[in-house]
Symmetry: C2
Subunit: 246 residues, 2 copies
């Protein structure tokens, strides 16, 4: 880097001790990677571009990160820190656990939608699961569901998380394709409708559903997605509650 900041190599042009940016560090690399992923999606992240952003060569990154896959695991754990879980006390006594679980689920979804590339990565998931932030996340969930009084907390957690992951990844993937189209979500849906209707032409139930949707006044797609998420969440929580009281 010194060589680059000093293009004419001579004793006279050399700066003695430049304030020097924080240099290159693992955390700085991961942080910038997350920024790039959020901005331009997963296939826009390359080691060269990431290096360039940090005023570094591509291969310099390999001093701090073994491989790109490892970098992705670190990125996952980095954003995992954003997911909040209410303190376990909130669930003690049996009343508050539903609100607490709802909040935890909502926080997961919000994080997944804020970082849509997460969905693409969860499917290939090396063992990011062992990252400190994800570990702490699991721990807090376990504390919450144990305090709530579940006989098999891990089972309940797996169930809830599966639902939340399934819904969130689907949603994130949808939003990614919408974003790539350049249109707003509403416009994209409108533009997609004809094709969808034609594809559904031979299928009675689907055709009817599309026809109904076309007749009704157009709904805010964001509100619709929210409603869909909370509906399913209530279903899962109802099912879990039966295991709690029984």
């Amino acid at each position: 880097m010194a060589a680059k900041a000093n293009p004419v190599p001579s004793v006279w042009t050399r700066q003695q001790s430049p304030p020097d940016q924080p240099a290159l560090s693992r955390t700085a690399i991961v942080r910038e990677a997350v920024v790039m992923l959020d901005a331009d999606g997963i296939e826009a992240l390359s080691m060269r571009k990431l290096g360039a952003r940090l005023n570094a060569g591509a291969t310099s990154l390999y001093r701090h990160v073994a491989t790109k896959d490892e970098l992705m695991e670190l990125a996952v754990d980095e954003v995992a820190a954003e997911i909040t879980v209410p303190p376990a006390d909130a669930a003690r006594g049996g009343a508050g656990w539903r609100a607490a679980a709802t909040e935890a689920a909502g926080s997961f979804r919000a994080t997944a939608l804020r970082h849509p590339w997460l969905s693409s990565v969860l499917g290939q998931a090396g063992l990011a699961y062992l990252g400190p932030n994800l570990m702490s996340y699991s721990e807090r969930l376990a504390a919450l569901f144990t305090a709530a009084g579940f006989p098999e907390p891990s089972r309940a957690i797996d169930t809830l998380l599966s639902y939340v992951i399934g819904m969130s990844t689907t949603e994130a993937a949808w939003l990614t394709t919408v974003a790539r189209s350049g249109d707003s979500e509403g416009d994209f849906i409108a533009r997609l409708m004809p094709a969808a209707q034609q594809a559904a032409a031979d299928h009675d139930h689907l055709a009817e559903a599309y026809a109904d949707a076309a007749v009704r006044a157009p709904v805010d797609p964001v509100a619709l997605r929210d409603a869909k998420f909370t509906y399913g969440l209530e279903v899962v929580l109802d099912g879990l509650e039966m295991r709690l009281t029984a």
Copy 2:
């Protein structure tokens, strides 16, 4: 291909009308792509290798498929044909819908585990959703849940599918990393335990859970995954049933 099979150009060396393998066709390409994906995972599929498998050059494929992404969408729809849904009659009368839903969910999971690359692709999902097989799948689900008497069938379907997708992708991703390790699932778990326990050292609930697992007699991991899946499935179905009778 004729030119390749016929390196000496002359009337005499030319084969008149060789039985000729089915040549190159969209369906043949997609079918072979699925075979390769199943065998070696998603990152092992390249256009050149796929072409080679079909005795064709890489670029020849582009006569039948616009882009690799499109090929992946076709592959998804191809395997979607394997997912079965019981006929709607099974659900009429209210009794059989649970068994039918269970079977549909199980079939989805089985397909996802048979083709683990599906999980990696669902996260980026272009609009494979419009493929004929997936459309027919949605239709049969809609028929089933409508016959079961759900007031909002699509809501129920979305909920169930989210759970099944979440659980299955997680499972498939796990199985993929296991497979890459070369070990059996049991051995891999054993090899992973120390690291997991160390990572969980500072987290009470997790540490306890790991300790319990270490004490108990080792369980067949396959059976354990099956149990986990059906537990969550029952939870979701219970929650749905409340919406049905109400």
